[in-house]
């Protein structure tokens, strides 16, 4: 199920680049089994993940249609490997829709469009607002946690181990119902298979056990819930469930304490979490509306340099522009 590099034709615009790869639009390429547009993730030389990518591609193709469709809208799954001269040089993935990106001005005044990574949710809301990032309120945060639990449930029931849950590998959107997508899925592992590439822990996300499994996913999800619900300076390092007192009820506190506790067997499953958040949000509650009411998405235009003093000033404050 590999696509030859030449079959992609002329690549579309470069959409982004990271340490591992460059990502291009491929507007002319469509696949019968993928609903929307695709992107080509071209690994930098020496950064190609080994053979295990094929297994992820195949596993998706063997899913029933409803499951596959759900996978495609909740992850940036590798849908095909791309080969160049017999070796894997990249993958095709569904394009992440526009509303997972956020456009703002950086402090220097430069315009920026980037993915709404979960790390922005951990930042002190006042600071995030000043930096021009969306700042959801409590209800929208709970809804994002619930949606993440839903993605994890989908993957766990289909026998995957996510492995590297961290501040950058999940992205969110707030319109159209707060929802979450997993990106950078190349490190996902099929349960029962040997790890195709050593599954790694991001700094500050390491679980008590050495070997990554669905249990360590549940641990890392606990950290994600804690840090998302208790944003602030230092929150990206939080490990203590006590921060969540006052944000969650007693049941939520106990779920969290078990999730990030040392005993893998006590950790609540994705389904346990999903049920809990659903109840908390009120069954069938229109979370979009709740989010809109409690969390006006505020955007500032950032900082500009005052031409006379050459100091940085907040654009729009005190009548300065």
């Amino acid at each position: 199920m590999a696509v030859p590099r030449v079959a992609l034709g002329t690549l579309g615009p470069l959409l982004g680049s990271g340490g591992q790869a460059k990502v291009y639009a491929v507007p002319s390429v469509r696949l019968p089994d993928v609903a929307g547009p695709l992107v080509f993730k071209h690994y930098r030389p020496g950064q190609e993940p080994p053979a295990g990518l094929h297994a992820l591609v195949l596993r998706r193709l063997r899913m029933d249609l409803p499951t596959r469709d759900r996978l495609d809208v909740r992850t940036a799954w590798p849908v095909r490997t791309v080969q160049d001269g017999g070796a894997v040089c990249g993958v095709l993935m569904p394009l992440i829709p526009d509303d997972y990106f956020h456009t703002r001005y950086l402090p220097s005044g430069a315009a920026d469009r980037s993915l709404c990574e979960f790390q922005h949710l951990f930042v002190d809301p006042e600071r995030a607002r000043r930096l021009g990032m969306p700042v959801p309120g409590r209800k929208a945060r709970l809804a994002l946690c619930r949606d993440f639990a839903g993605v994890m449930h989908l993957l766990h029931t289909n026998n995957f181990v996510i492995g590297d849950i961290n501040a950058k590998n999940a992205v969110f959107r707030l319109n159209a119902g707060p929802s979450v997508r997993l990106v950078d899925c190349d490190a996902i592992r099929i349960r029962g298979d040997a790890a195709v590439l050593a599954q790694l822990n991001a700094p500050d996300w390491d679980p008590p056990e050495r070997t990554l499994s669905q249990s360590t996913d549940l641990y890392k999800f606990g950290l994600l819930v804690l840090r998302t619900l208790c944003p602030g300076n230092g929150a990206s390092l939080y490990r203590d469930p006590d921060h969540v007192r006052g944000v969650l009820d007693g049941r939520g506190y106990r779920l969290l304490a078990d999730a990030i506790g040392a005993s893998p067997r006590r950790r609540p499953t994705a389904r346990d979490w999903g049920l809990y958040f659903t109840e908390l949000l009120g069954a069938g509650a229109p979370t979009t509306r709740a989010a809109r009411i409690s969390a006006p998405v505020v955007t500032t235009s950032g900082w500009v340099r005052d031409p006379t003093t050459r100091q940085w000033v907040q654009a729009g404050s005190d009548g300065q522009t």
Binding site: F122, L131, N233, G234, Q311
Partner: protein, 246 residues
Amino acid sequence: MDTSEQGKLLPFYVVIDVSYSMSGVKLDTANQIMPAVLDAVAKAPILADKVRFSVIDFSDDARVRLPLCDILDDGVQLPSLTLRGGTSFVSAFRLLRTEIESNVKQLKADGFLVHRPAVFFISDGVPTDQDSAWQSAFADLTTFDKVSRTGFSMYPNFVPFGVDDADPRTLQQLIHPTGGGKPMRMFLQSKDSDAAAAIAGMAEVLISSVLASGESMTRGDSGIILPSGDDLPPGLSSYTADDDFV
């Protein structure tokens, strides 16, 4: 597993020569270094839980232009550099030592663990001090004897950057440490490049070190990571303490 919530901070000191020779496009480019760093941290804002920044400029004297801070803090005002006088390395090294000492003490008193600080030192000229004077001020800043515990225990990792008339042999003596598990390196303006491009390249090296520190800083790791040869921005060449200049 590290379950403590205590952050371990990596302090970056950006030290910039503001002698008169730095005039024009060099100074303008140097003035863009910190705004570029600020943008990079704004794009990866949880880095603020890991790194701190200070800016020191030096000429005949050295001045703290940005006291060590969380660069995303509301109150932070990035300094704009202006030119004055000569090129006293001694003044820069002395001020660095007192700043590092008091800053690290302060961070520890505030409950943080602290990585060994990193100094990015940029100059376009030769020191106006006597050789023996700057050499001894540099030794005061960087020498520490683990056995007798004499010297400066908080000595920084020192990364010199040279543009235009900077003397490679002089700057090479500022690489610290030169050996051990993580030797530092020196960066020079490439022969076919101009000083402004090289200073812009320095900002990129700084930013990539800052980003790398968020990716891989773990306990026991000494903190700073410099980009490897292939990832060098245009305009710069990288040297070790042992490289020869012909």
